[in-house]
């Protein structure tokens, strides 16, 4: 990364931390923790002193995310192409999808807990649900982006349907598709962690909720920072995948 980007970014983080420190010191120390207390808490967390089982919880959350995302990718791509490639079907069902996507997803979570229980399954279901929509809609939008003339040209040069798909459709929709896959991943992560916070027995979100419930505010903020790092790491991997896919096309 260029220095011209890194320096201003470091500056804004510094300014925010300083403002946070000053504000928090003038408030109730039970509810407002300044960075000077969060950093030691983060140190204890990473050293596995405050939460010795952190790695297991993190690993569980990561597995939930991976499963939820894999299901969202599979389901989203299948649904998107099924609706996109059959205009009749798309006309009937695509508006429904758009309407469902507009509903704040959190309203589904209680019913997912009723269906799937308090364990990992309901988190996976919620992560899937959140990731599924942007992927499906990206595939649908991508299919519409394909220039029918290019399909005709490919056919004229002897391309069969499979070749048309691989050599014309996929490259045409690539940027929309990768954008949707990346957004879907971010939302699957959100779904799993929010699901854990709202009700669970294990996972990063469970720890966050636990620390918060006990008013261990410094630990709570430290755990949130861990969640932030997790989200950034996952999105970093997704961004790399996106760049790679673009280069391939």
């Amino acid at each position: 990364m260029r220095r011209g980007v890194v320096l201003p970014r470091a500056a804004i983080v510094g300014v925010l931390a300083l403002g946070w420190e000053i504000t928090a010191r003038s408030m109730d120390p039970l509810l407002y923790v300044p960075p000077s207390r969060v950093l030691p808490a983060l140190g204890r967390l990473v050293a596995l002193e405050s939460f010795p089982y952190l790695p297991e919880h993190l690993w569980l959350t990561l597995r939930e995310i991976l499963i939820a995302y894999a299901l969202a990718v599979g389901g989203g791509i299948a649904t998107g192409f099924a609706l996109g490639l059959r205009p009749g079907l798309g006309r009937i069902y695509a508006p429904l999808l758009g309407a469902l996507y507009a509903v704040p997803s959190v309203v589904w979570y209680p019913s997912l807990m009723l269906l799937f229980g308090l364990g990992a399954a309901s988190k996976i279901a919620f992560g899937f649900l959140l990731g599924f929509f942007p992927i499906t809609l990206a595939v649908l939008a991508g299919v519409r982006q394909v220039d029918p003339h290019l399909v005709t040209v490919a056919r004229a040069f002897g391309a069969r349907p499979g070749t048309v798909f691989a050599r014309v459709m996929l490259p045409s929709m690539l940027s929309t598709l990768t954008g949707g896959l990346r957004a879907g991943l971010a939302l699957s992560v959100v779904g799993v962690i929010v699901g854990e916070v709202l009700g669970s027995k294990a996972g990063l979100g469970y720890l966050i909720n636990y620390a918060y419930g006990l008013l261990r505010t410094a630990d709570y903020v430290a755990l949130v920072l861990v969640a932030l790092a997790l989200v950034l790491a996952v999105d970093g991997v997704a961004a790399r995948g996106e760049r790679r896919a673009r280069r391939w096309a």
């Binding site: 003339h149 290019l150 005709t152 004229a156 040069f157 002897g158 690539l174 096309a249």
Partner: protein, 237 residues
């Protein structure tokens, strides 16, 4: 909607056969049928004694009014696209494509993407893509229709040069009288919709042609006489 009716036309090898007619007369439909992109509701298209059942790039190559280059491929890879579908290895198809781009004045543009090329260059790349697969027949659907008049004129000269060297059969759709007169060995005039063949005019004249010569002028008058009536019909439809 019926686009064509009662069309019977045979084109001999190495002819440059131009199909001209008012807009919407089904010229493009006819070409798409010859190319196997559309099936006729009745009748058949036969090439070298074999009925056309679908696109067959080993025998027929196509050029469209919209060049239809793949934006994610370089000019070189666009030219090589048809060869790729035929399973020709990358190094070989790139060599063939590069050999084609040179004489078309596109050598320096081989690694450019379509968006970096002018309209005329794009259409030359599209024509090179059609020539690359080395079919005996090239179908061209108003390939210069979207270009400005000067570019159009130069592209016509260029195409004539390509055609005389490559010795291919060309079926060329246009609504430009000038193009028809400058390029064709034969001109087919179509009627207004539903299109049928109104007349076939042979142009047994040497190339390059002087479009101001009295001979061409008499052909132009004859051709315009045939075309005028149909264009009027289309205009008043």
């Amino acid at each position: 909607m019926q686009a064509l009716t009662d069309v019977s036309l045979s084109v001999g090898p190495r002819e440059f056969c131009t199909v001209i007619g008012p807009s919407g007369c089904g010229k493009s439909t006819l070409l798409a049928m010859i190319g196997g992109l559309l099936g006729p509701d009745e009748g058949s298209i036969v090439i070298d004694g074999r009925r056309v059942a679908g696109p067959d790039p080993r025998r027929v190559a196509m050029v469209f009014q919209d060049p239809g280059l793949f934006p994610w491929l370089t000019a070189l890879d666009n030219v090589a696209f048809g060869l790729e579908l035929q399973g020709i290895p990358r190094a070989e198809r790139r060599r063939i494509a590069a050999d084609l781009l040179g004489p078309l004045g596109l050598r320096e543009f081989a690694l450019k993407y379509p968006r970096e090329l002018s309209g005329g260059m794009r259409q030359r790349v599209a024509i090179a893509r059609a020539l690359a697969i080395d079919s005996g027949i090239v179908l061209m659907d108003e390939p210069f229709g979207a270009l400005d008049e000067q570019t159009r004129f130069l592209m016509g000269e260029w195409l004539l040069d390509v055609w005389t060297r490559a010795r291919k059969t060309v079926v060329f759709v246009t609504h430009s009288l000038q193009e028809a007169l400058a390029l064709s060995t034969r001109v087919v005039v179509m009627t207004a919709r539903p299109g049928r063949i109104k007349s076939v005019i042979d142009l047994p004249l040497p190339y390059p042609r002087d479009l101001e010569s009295p001979e061409i002028a008499s052909f132009r008058a004859k051709l315009w006489g045939e075309l005028r009536e149909e264009s009027l019909k289309t205009m008043n439809q």
